[in-house]
Symmetry: C2
Subunit: 145 residues, 2 copies
């Protein structure tokens, strides 16, 4: 895959992660399977791979939740989405259109670019689909424990 966020997660894994973050708390296999229209077994397997990265923990039969590191990373993913969506609204996109379009390509935009765009827009506090937080300075450089 050709991901540009400092981690080697595929676009699909990023989508799963973002969904888990936005839903919050304990997420069930069925929630993900329903949201993405895939078989639950697909979710189980993909979640197992994500768990190995340390971004989430999966207690079999009891749900999925993000680790502290996963939450920090997910905050970045959400921020990225909102920064890019906001950028698109500068080009005549409605909020909803911007949101949809950003989903298409956000996984392929480098963190460096997101930071730059964020800075150029004056670190906005409000995006098109929610608040924008600016606390991702230490992404992917956290001790394991």
């Amino acid at each position: 895959m050709e991901i540009s966020d400092g981690r080697e997660l595929s676009a699909q894994k990023v989508r799963y992660l973002k969904f888990i973050a936005e839903k919050g708390g304990r997420v069930r296999t069925t929630d993900l399977a329903g949201e993405f229209g895939v078989d639950p077994s697909t979710i189980t397997k993909t979640i197992a791979e994500l768990a190995k990265t340390g971004l989430l923990s999966h207690e079999p039969y009891h749900g999925i939740c993000l680790t502290a590191e996963g939450q920090r990373y997910a905050r970045y993913l959400v921020k990225r989405h909102r920064i890019l969506s906001l950028m698109l609204t500068h080009y005549g996109f409605s909020h909803e259109q911007a949101c949809e379009e950003a989903k298409r390509f956000e996984s392929y935009v480098s963190k460096d670019a997101v930071d730059r765009i964020c800075a150029a827009m004056g670190h906005p506090g409000q995006g098109v689909c929610g608040e924008i937080t600016h606390d991702d300075g230490c992404l992917a450089r956290e001790p394991a424990g």
Copy 2:
């Protein structure tokens, strides 16, 4: 794949196609293999798949060139690249940085979005890495012959 340009070409195929268009004329297997750092046999196989779409013709041992349809499509790809690069320069990217960043995600931006951004920028005639042409109105709706 999750491509958003109205065709179902993967990002990699799009890169190959864009390279062929930018180089112009008859392109050799070796040119592509060198540019992308892959084995020549990989190029041969991928080109065979692209040839089936009618975007280019491949005369074995004698090179690759775009069909009229391929040229029209490639013009869109180049325009897309230049529009997105130009957009990025509005956020503090240098020309070269904008160009590199655009390459990362351009394949995932919908044609609709490119058109909208193009319009919002006033259909610019000059991009960061060359002229921008605006003749892609009839993409992907051309008779085969």
